[in-house]
């Protein structure tokens, strides 16, 4: 135990490390005679610098991570030539993207073509501002945190449309229409899942939501939202719509289309294409960040005696787990067809979303205890079972029995 106890003070000091660092720099600047408004400006810049560099590092990690995971799933070794175990591979990709010629089609609408990739990265960066990275480590303490995320993520639809419209070619037009329809129809379940959490915590701000998930039930089980019946259903819905929002398999219809070439990104090359690529991964990280903040107890440690590990490590560990699950799904499932995608959203996920709200209300009114559990399960399970049966009636889901001839 001595080794462990030795490390506790070290970890404890790590807990507030980022805040202490920022305070130390500000203090140093202050006694260098920096006037007041500039100090405020510098403190904002420092926090931006903080999470901005962490996320870009995560992006670099993500592209290497994805290749390695997909490779290992497919019994391959994955990139190991460039740098130790292929770690410099993303940097090599970055250089390749930077040096590639940026071809803009002649007939394209230059203005829109240029600002589409910029607009598609915007929401990811803006939404980073309100993520609760650690105990009192939220860059912008907004009272309406979750609302900013939804307001800003509508910009992706506009950017995708602009990309599709500006490249003026048949494939990107069809791809853009499909992408906008997909993102739009999966925005609704995202909002429904989030409102159920807002209803339970009573406030829109993310830090309040994470605090509401503190504390441990009978010493072991952390009372995260995901361990409640409505919370689990809402988390599943949130994660599925998150995959659809960021065009990940099995919903990578717009750009992974084997028959429509590359959807709205057909006419992009060079660093503009890299921006789309970065926006996809950052979007995935941010949405997983929100899923963690809303359902998996943000920076809360899963077990009481583990709280000595700093809170922001928990936050990023949970994000990486969710991203791993997303990549694991990418390695397994084929793509869904467009009309199945739409049917699934409008006929299955949104009605279930409304039922989640009902079940959350029942859970809250029934006192959040075991009684809450018993009462809030039926409004979820009955409609799920009914709809699943209706949805699967015209397919023989269990596979067919075949006859043989001699």
């Amino acid at each position: 135990m001595t080794a462990l106890s030795g490390t506790i003070p070290v970890f404890a000091s790590l807990e507030g490390a980022p805040i202490a660092l920022k305070a130390w720099i500000l203090g140093m600047l202050e006694n260098m005679g920096m006037p007041e408004p500039f100090l405020m400006l510098v403190s904002i810049q420092l926090s931006i610098l903080g999470f901005f560099s962490v996320f870009l590092l995560l992006f670099v990690l993500a592209s290497w991570f994805e290749r390695k995971i997909l490779a290992r799933i497919q019994n391959r070794r994955g990139p190991n030539r460039v740098g130790p175990a292929g770690l410099l591979q993303p940097i090599a990709d970055g250089i390749k993207m930077l040096t590639k010629e940026d071809i803009v089609p002649v007939a394209a609408d230059k203005v829109l073509h240029a600002c589409a990739p910029v607009l598609i990265i915007l929401p990811a960066f803006l939404a980073m501002a309100i993520l609760p990275y650690g105990k009192n480590m939220t860059p912008v303490e907004l009272e309406v945190g979750i609302l900013l995320f939804f307001a800003v993520s509508t910009a992706t639809e506009l950017a995708v449309f602009m990309a599709g419209w500006a490249s003026l070619n048949k494939f990107s037009m069809l791809g853009a229409m499909r992408a906008v329809a997909q993102i739009l129809s999966y925005e609704l379940p995202l909002i429904l899942a989030a409102t159920s959490v807002v209803m339970i915590t009573g406030s829109l701000s993310l830090t309040a939501m994470v605090e509401a998930q503190g504390g441990y039930l009978l010493g072991i089980l952390p009372n995260w939202h995901v361990f409640t019946p409505w919370g689990f259903a809402a988390f599943a819905m949130f994660f599925i719509s998150a995959l659809a929002e960021s065009n990940r398999t099995p919903f990578d219809l717009p750009e992974g289309e084997s028959e429509l070439v590359a959807g709205h990104m057909t006419e992009y090359s060079g660093f503009k294409y890299a921006l789309f690529f970065i926006s996809e991964y950052l979007g995935l990280y941010v949405v997983c960040g929100f899923a963690v903040a809303l359902f998996l107890g943000g920076w809360q440690a899963p077990l009481p005696f583990l709280t000595f590990i700093p809170s922001w490590i928990w936050f990023f560990a949970k994000i990486l787990c969710l991203v791993f699950v997303a990549m694991w799904i990418r390695g397994t499932f084929p793509r869904v067809r467009v009309d199945h995608l739409m049917n699934f959203a409008w006929k299955f996920v949104i009605p279930l979303g409304v039922m989640v709200l009902v079940s959350a209300a029942v859970w809250h009114l029934a006192g959040r205890g075991p009684l809450g559990w018993i009462l809030s399960l039926p409004p979820l399970l009955i409609p799920y079972w009914l709809m699943a049966r209706a949805y699967g009636r015209n397919y023989d889901a269990g596979g067919r029995v075949y006859r043989f001839a001699e």
Binding site: R72, I73, N75, R77, W328, I329, T332
Partner: protein, 172 residues
Amino acid sequence: MGITAKNFIASYTKPESLITEEYPEEKPKLPENNRNFPFLVFDDDPDAGLRCVSCKICERECPPQCIYIVQERDENGRPVKQPKVFDIDISVCMSCQICVEVCPFDAIKMDQEYELSSLDRFDPLIHDRQRLSKSNEYYHSIHPAEAAAVDAVLAEKAARKAGNKKAADNES
């Protein structure tokens, strides 16, 4: 999902499930019957010991017609059982080893060398006689069983020829 998980974990626990072969470091070991482009066998001396007697059967039988033979002529023009020019255009050859099958003198066999890339599309891909001819020992090294069988047949044929030459001597 379970299957992909199993394979993911297996790739770390069971190293042999990884099928990537690091080519430049680990060279693939070729089975004995493997065949690439043909080569000419010579017994001991590259020029005189060449088994090929330029009978041009392989040139006729080769489906894509990629072999080109010119017969040697001695000083006063009589044909000699030696190929002066024996070119194989390996950009046309599809290594189907029909030439090996039809050659009555076991003069041409299939090689196993596969690193033959060159910078120029034309001349380096036309292997001339000098580059094609390789020793019988090399033949034994790449196709041991087959080489042994061929040697046995040649030895027995030589013995029979020596036998009936001796018979012809003591007859005369």
